[in-house]
Symmetry: D2
């Protein structure tokens, strides 16, 4: 058993990590930190876990984590990881970071979109991006898998992809990588469940505001934009511009990305057919455990991936406007956060990537 | 008081008409038809209306409607209006039709998208399209208002705009009409509440399927597509292609349209600024009673227009991709159906268009 | 037009008062106070009201209210009314209080359940309890109606009934008053929508906690208990003990009270029949505008009274256990708060009690 | 691996059995029947299961089940089990029945409440009631456990407890068995998620009817009443009358039972204290894997048991009315149906009762 800790364990992504790790056959949960809940049994804050664990939250402490954990999952806001990761790595702890702090290779872009200084640029170079399906691109350097076979002498740092970038990238990569769609501008129009806004109570996420309502937010300014552009540009080796519109949808979890890509006509002037595109997507994901390309004409539902690490994809072609429409459903807290982090951790630890991710405790939130 | 009837009154749009008409100062509800509920008190089927009306549903019957009503609202599926409207008009009853049967000026396009024969082509020519805000376009022939001053000798036929076309058109018209955006392809990505799927129970609209779920449907094939194209092409006098993606969102009512338009750079190569666009939208709708352009940076919520005939609009510019993003929220059953029908009826009857639409009974569904 | 103000207008009950008053034909809204939103247009905080009012929130100020209003609705937490009402009354403003501060005739009981000192005991004696249907009891002194005909020389104070007491009392009064049920212990098991918990964000009322969840709270300790006992004991002139269990149900609004009363067998040892009881309830409420006793065998839905001032009641007899089961649905923010306050204000102002309460603006939250 | 089949596998309880069995280490799912879906892949009807199984639904057929399965779960409506169970037992298949057909020991009571003839009275005698926690009563004959050690020569028949009886019994048994509460009349007031109404679309379970609504149904007449009375009377060896009021609550799953029991004063005239009662409940369930008595003062949430086989219990004493109030939360489809059936099957197969029930696939509905 590999001893693992979860930092920020009382947030939605954090408690989801706890849920998954408690049912994981190779990871042993030894620490779950929450400054606000220090000393409280996890099950007193999340009664769903009554009977599943008697562990108590502890205050986050690098020395304590270093003494107890081989691997730490950081389910913290941006900048909190910058403040903690260098010391954890220094202390020999492998870090699987769910924050945005090490995702963008270019610190300038980070500073521009997040409006804070990046204080850990040297580590940036050794961080590996955590979206396992990215490795399917022939242009990718199979880094997650490489980490598993790397000498264990040095601790590893994985910067897991964000929720929206995961859904958008899974929807777009095959078309962009295989040249079916033009890079240029792609539009990602996403619906997210309310848990995406975090667990901090506010006028926006109280029930009476959020229930029975749809709204857009952060239009043209959301920080996941440069992350999507980085993934897709690297995946297809061409510059990609993403116009991203996030929305809140009245459900607890789930992201539905509807992505619009301009189709590339062939040399004969013909559009690729839906059959061709369907085959291309199926081929791209044929070895993936968690991505399902639905049968032609079927669109995914967020409820179909509720609580699981699965992604489901549906395809449609609009020949009237040369557009490919791809919809992709994930659970924002699992494939978009905790599940993906465990999937990455599995890979870098040399375990099957599905380990602990198919059969798990029921959702807590 | 003008005597009015509602045909298809037990459906969601129909009962919404009943709700509004019961509070309307100039319309008297004399008939509410429902074949399935013939003879039942309306309030026994919709207990919300206990105390508000003692009227019973009757079976739909043209002769009876003609004998009792001056104006009939048809809240029926397509083809049902084709079967009934000619006889009602013949009998001297003004028809405000909520179905799709008389919306498309070109019967061929109707037959192609609806896959049925159009059996009432002669009436098509005299039908007026029912989207009052369309009259703001300088290219429009102010037909709704003209009907009011037309000689009352002949009954009138209004084909009210559908729910998605209403939201999409309100979001797009000012930009297209004023040349801020290019016609070409526009993308309308819409979320609709479950009532949009109608009242007939099915595997898709039962609570356990629909709650806590988002999904797309009818991708690239929805029948509202040609209607949007007709409205927008006529409004700006240029051919417009619409790529339309409807989604179901887990709420009872509401449509949120997120529309993507390609910005037209000026002769100086500059993009229009958000300030310019905001001013253009505000000017376009300055005389409208039901359309609010929200302050810069504010996005509309479907819950803000719940149960009302209002539309709210938010604007954003993505200078990185030369795109204008407009979101528009309406209540699909009010501004997208019953409210708009009453607004149209008000106009052609020479009443203020807001009559009975600002203060009304609370929503029934 | 009577000039009215709403104190605490940004809370859920307060904004509901605003909504109703904006459509009221005899009340003119001249003040809406909110300390936190001082200076902001109401419509910027509640965009639903865009177009309906251009009024701005002001800070609560007795002198200002006294100078501008004839009548003030206080939609404030308990103790806030104690702090404000004496000065308003002193200044000649009639007060319709939605807080608990003047509901309990016995200040000791108030102090015991609310755990604060009652600093306004002298006014307590002149406060009238605000549940118009209570006047149907032959034991009641028709106080609300009497206030209307009282000399206008002195300002009036109405202490409106709470939400749970309203639903519980409407369900129980006819049976207790007419001797169908024994006083003794009655059980009121209530479901409330989340708005009942107020608008202040907390770990309990955020969407991800409240959606898809049912739970009980305040079991045996809720402060509405003595209020129910006071109403029912006075209505039937016998001591009544209430065991009250409130629950939160995942909906925005609505209370469903399920009340269990022990049936009183007649001198012949026979139970009253459901027919008898149905007739008794119908007779009790026959002159009421807002209470509907549903046909035998029909149970009320909270959605049927959504946004309205109506109460709906269903009856059932369990002859196996000599129990009468009554369910009553109200909208907690309307009949349980703002609507009832306006109904009371109508009565004491000599207006029809339904004035402004049947046709109103659509719900804001 | 024990070969098992699920009959009625496309219903909500049936697909929940499929979900659990697919993750069960000792059961192999070999048949999943659905007459309406014969031949379709399970994952095409329930896309959540894409990747988890390639099994197709088959038409229900006794011969086929007998040839393929050692044990069959029947997730069918009442009378459907009567039609099938005798032949399955005859063919040597152990039956774990989720219907009501073999729950009531007295066929007359069955016929009276279900209004159909009981055509399989001989089997009734050998059916064991399936509520594992019932065995904790000293008056119970530990039948489920006994079946495991019984000679395997004859197939077994378990009649699993219904959803409401499970929640009500778990809430009541310790108090009744230990003499804390009087038998006499107990009141069970329950909230159920909409899945309790089954998967067949109807005017009542469509989203727009069920969302944002609470209502009671089957008041005083629900068929689970005699089942509750049988369990509790047998558990405490005294006749118990239950007054049961089921409600629908706007959530997909979950039952919250609020049970009112009359406290038994001691010989000294004193009420039992909450501390005593808490201790009694904890002792009663101390060896149970799935029942958690929450800390004093804490009430359970249905969301805390979502998707799991857990039951959580909260206690309160109303000394003002000598009443014990117990709330109990379960997932109606798991502990109230599929999970309990697997728990029973585990026991009679000699497996740990928790086998496959702690770590499972995420919920499908």
């Amino acid at each position: 058993m590999i001893k693992v800790g979860v930092v920020g364990a009382a947030g939605y992504a954090g408690i989801e990590l706890v849920r998954i790790i408690l049912g994981h056959p190779e990871f042993e949960l030894v620490r779950a930190t929450s400054g606000a809940d220090d000393g409280k049994p996890i099950a007193s804050v999340y009664p769903s876990l009554a009977g599943a664990t008697s562990l108590c939250f502890t205050a986050p402490d690098v020395a304590d984590l270093a003494a107890s954990c081989e691997l730490a999952f950081l389910a913290v806001p941006h900048t909190a990881s910058l403040a903690m990761t260098p010391a954890l790595i220094e202390a020999g702890v492998t870090v699987v970071d769910l924050s945005a702090d090490y995702r963008l290779h270019d610190a300038d872009i980070y500073e521009q979109w997040y409006n804070v200084e990046h204080t850990s640029k040297d580590l940036l170079a050794q961080a590996v991006f955590g979206l396992p399906e990215f490795d399917r691109s022939p242009y990718a350097k199979n880094l997650l898998a490489q980490m598993a076979i790397a000498p264990a002498c040095s601790p590893k740092l994985v910067a897991c992809a964000g929720c929206y970038p995961t859904a958008t990238s899974l929807a777009s990569m095959p078309a962009l990588v295989q040249g079916i769609a033009k890079p240029g501008r792609i539009i990602s129009d996403c619906q997210s469940g309310i848990s995406g806004a975090g667990r901090k109570p506010s006028a926006k996420n109280i029930y009476d505001s959020a229930a029975q309502d749809c709204t857009a937010y952060g239009v043209t300014t959301h920080r996941h934009t440069p992350e999507m552009e980085q993934i897709l540009s690297e995946a297809c080796c061409e510059p990609v511009t993403v116009l991203f519109t996030p929305h809140l949808s009245p459900m607890k979890r789930g992201i539905l990305a509807t992505v619009y890509l301009d189709l590339q006509r062939g040399e004969d002037g013909e559009l690729p057919t839906l059959d061709d595109i369907q085959a291309t997507y199926e081929a791209f994901y044929k070895d993936d455990s968690f991505v399902t390309v639905l049968p032609k004409g079927v669109q995914p539902h967020t409820s179909s991936v509720y609580g699981s690490n699965n992604a489901q994809i549906g395809l449609a072609v609009d020949a009237r406007s040369d557009t490919l429409v791809v919809t992709c459903a994930i659970d924002n807290l699992v494939k978009g956060a905790a599940g993906q982090a465990v999937q990455c951790a599995n890979i870098i630890c040399g375990l099957p990537e599905t380990c602990g991710l198919q059969v798990m405790l029921p959702p807590v939130v």
